[in-house]
Subunit: 155 residues, 2 copies
DNA sequence: ATGCTTCCCATGGTATCCCATATATATCCA
DNA sequence: TGGATATATATGGGATACCATGGGAAGCAT
């Protein structure tokens, strides 16, 4: 089971390349496609990513919607339409597309944040504040992780 | 499994030719027919397309309607009636028929939007707003991808 | 022929591959 | 224990292959 953990700060070179943290690569090593899928977060000004196999999983679930329904269309547009499949080079790097760099406002450093089966990529500064906000929220709302068959609860 | 992903902006030359994005071609490479099927979208002012083999899938789903029902008739007309089969040239381009260019109001740029098993083609401007609307809808309606084996309503 | 379409090749820009270097971590041996 | 050597990771740069695009030549119908 893939579990992305911890945070890593890596540099984005002038070609737009950035190394996937080695521990993340370890989680990806058994994937048939050596790379990741990235897309714009719906709620934050950051990128989200996961393994290719997870994208296929999503694809299968979307099949269950009516092919031409409005829901299917909305979901497919916002998920598949904004996602990109990025393969790693021999050294474990990916190239970030220009529009995604712009969206997340990357300068020269990218912060990889492990979040279990997905991960996020922030600018170091914005993640700094994001972490504080998140910790605050967990404290004040007393958030916990539900126990059994869990489906995200909120939705 | 075919999965069209991401968005690509390609140019339509004066001959009406446009390149199928390379990643889309990759998904199509195993198809017996090297090309795509295009037709007018029922809900948007854009084109929809997919691999020839997927046309069969559509056919099967249509079979589930009563053969002489009004719905079957409407769907069959709007999908099969307006669909065109376009083969790629040696460089991975197709020629857009004039009536489809007119329908989607293409100028000189076409935006290919991956949506899993199918894709859409928009003008860059109209897709810009379409993407925002879709994201809004996903957020406000709280649309999510069902978790397990899901029966997306009609079967 | 004329107009339209399909095929083929040329080009420029970009992304991909490959190798070099530096820094950090781990390993080994005295 | 200390020091030296190996291994892994992150980063930089150059060579190459691929892709999008334009234009011309060849086929086909009217």
């Amino acid at each position: 089971m893939t579990l992305f953990l911890s945070t890593h700060h890596n540099k984005i070179d002038k070609k737009g390349r950035v190394s996937i943290p080695a521990s993340f690569r370890g989680e990806l090593s058994e994937e048939s496609f050596q790379g990741v899928v990235l897309f714009r977060s719906n709620i934050h000004q950051c990128l989200e990513g996961f393994a290719w196999s997870y994208m296929q999983e999503i694809g299968k679930r979307l099949d269950d919607f009516d092919l031409f329904s409005a829901e299917q269309d909305d979901l497919a547009t916002s998920i598949f339409g904004t996602a990109v499949q990025l393969s790693m080079d021999g050294d474990g790097r990916i190239v970030l597309p220009k529009d995604l760099i712009e969206f997340a406002q990357f300068d020269e450093k990218a912060t990889f944040v492990g979040m279990g089966k997905k991960f996020q990529i922030w600018t170091p500064e914005s993640f700094e504040s994001r972490r504080d906000v998140a910790r605050q929220a967990v404290q004040s709302k007393g958030l916990t992780i539900p126990k059994g068959a869990h489906d995200g609860g909120r939705k």
